[in-house]
Symmetry: C2
Subunit: 213 residues, 2 copies
DNA sequence: ACCTGAACACCGTTCAAGT
DNA sequence: ACCTGAACACCGTTCAAGT
């Protein structure tokens, strides 16, 4: 990570973004400071500002890159559109959960660029291929987006121990204690895919489209 | 807000939490600093640490209070369980969206206390009353929780202008441009309730419970 | 026990200066 | 044009001291 470049004209936007990603992939968002990125690149903090307007722009560029990689992934085989949607959404969600720093940024601030644009376009294409049309198409993509953001936020910030403590705060618990183990069990990816399945079942039923579009 | 208390033994945990909430209700999360809370209370920053271990604890207490208010709200009239669930989840979601500072904290860090515990318990009771049983009960509550977190995160951090810019990043857009107006339209609450309806439709269908359980 | 004051180890970013 | 160095206006929190 620590490259002693330091010569003039050696620094590029790509290098700065890569250095930021390297930090976010292994450490907390708090570890990503402009001073730290500069140090890893062997440069003064202010050198970064010649390639980027501010820290937000750096975070945006780094996280969008992760979306671009996911959005370009090719499906491993021929699939039913519902299966392909589940596969694709995992492809998007997994890297954000695997690198907490990246997920933290995504949850906190808007990410706008080729990566998020292509990801959105691909979600639209998959659902349209499934027979979702009209306003329901944009609304379905919106629903899936909300669920995905929530799943990432929840998995990153809420370890199982948090939920396990919930019953202790209740004066007259009735239902929670019996179900807290199931509720707190950490299985974020499976839970997300199940919720996605339920959501798609609801969309198919009410939008009046035939299963297997 | 600026009360010149400053006398000894005047400061209490409740006052500190109230001062924090007052800031979060009208300003960004960034506005909530320990120094600012202390200033609003007419006290030294270090005085706060005699009532709280650290800033996270203060944020947790403040946001949990918002959940407690929502969890204690009484339904305005007799309702179908599905309608009551929609009403209750709005009761939870709306204050977090209306006060960006509060929503920002909730999305970023776990909130644990009487408020979140009672909110969760009440979600369990409503779904059980609807006939959802076994593991599906905890899984359904989990799904709704994810959707709710995502809806709050999305509404707080992503204004409509962000989505409207997406097509501009595509080299060969096919579907997005035709649907971007619908996709970007700001109608967060209705979108959330629709996604919740779709989710519940899917849960009812696949969990094999009768409508109006 | 409760609060103050000074200090530590940080931040992002502006500004003026170097080459 | 590209980078450095010093400085500004902040942070959360520790530590020692007052009453």
């Amino acid at each position: 990570m620590v490259e002693r470049s330091a010569k003039r004209r050696d620094l590029t936007l790509d290098k700065v973004v890569e250095a930021a990603l390297a930090i976010l992939r292994t450490e907390d968002e708090a570890a990503l400071t402009m001073r730290r990125v500069a140090r890893d690149l062997g440069v003064t903090p202010m050198a970064l500002y010649h390639h980027l307007p501010d820290k937000d722009a750096l975070l945006n560029a780094a996280v969008d890159q992760v979306f671009l990689d996911a959005a370009r992934a090719a499906a491993p085989q021929e699939m039913d559109w519902r299966d392909e949607l589940s596969w694709f959404m995992s492809e998007v969600r997994d890297p954000l959960v695997a690198s907490p720093g990246i997920g933290q940024v995504f949850v906190r601030q808007p990410v706008l660029g080729p990566g998020t644009a292509l990801t959105t376009e691909r979600m639209f294409r998959l659902l349209r291929a499934g027979g979702v049309t009209g306003d329901a198409l944009a609304e379905a993509v919106d629903s899936i987006t909300l669920l995905t953001i929530g799943s990432i936020a929840n998995e990153i910030s809420r370890p199982a121990e948090v939920r396990l403590q919930l019953p202790g705060f209740l004066e007259a618990p009735e239902v929670l204690p019996d179900h807290i183990d199931t509720y707190a069990r950490r299985d974020g990816r499976a839970r997300y895919l199940q919720a996605l399945t339920w959501l798609m079942d609801g969309i198919e039923t009410k939008a009046g489209i035939s299963p297997n579009g």
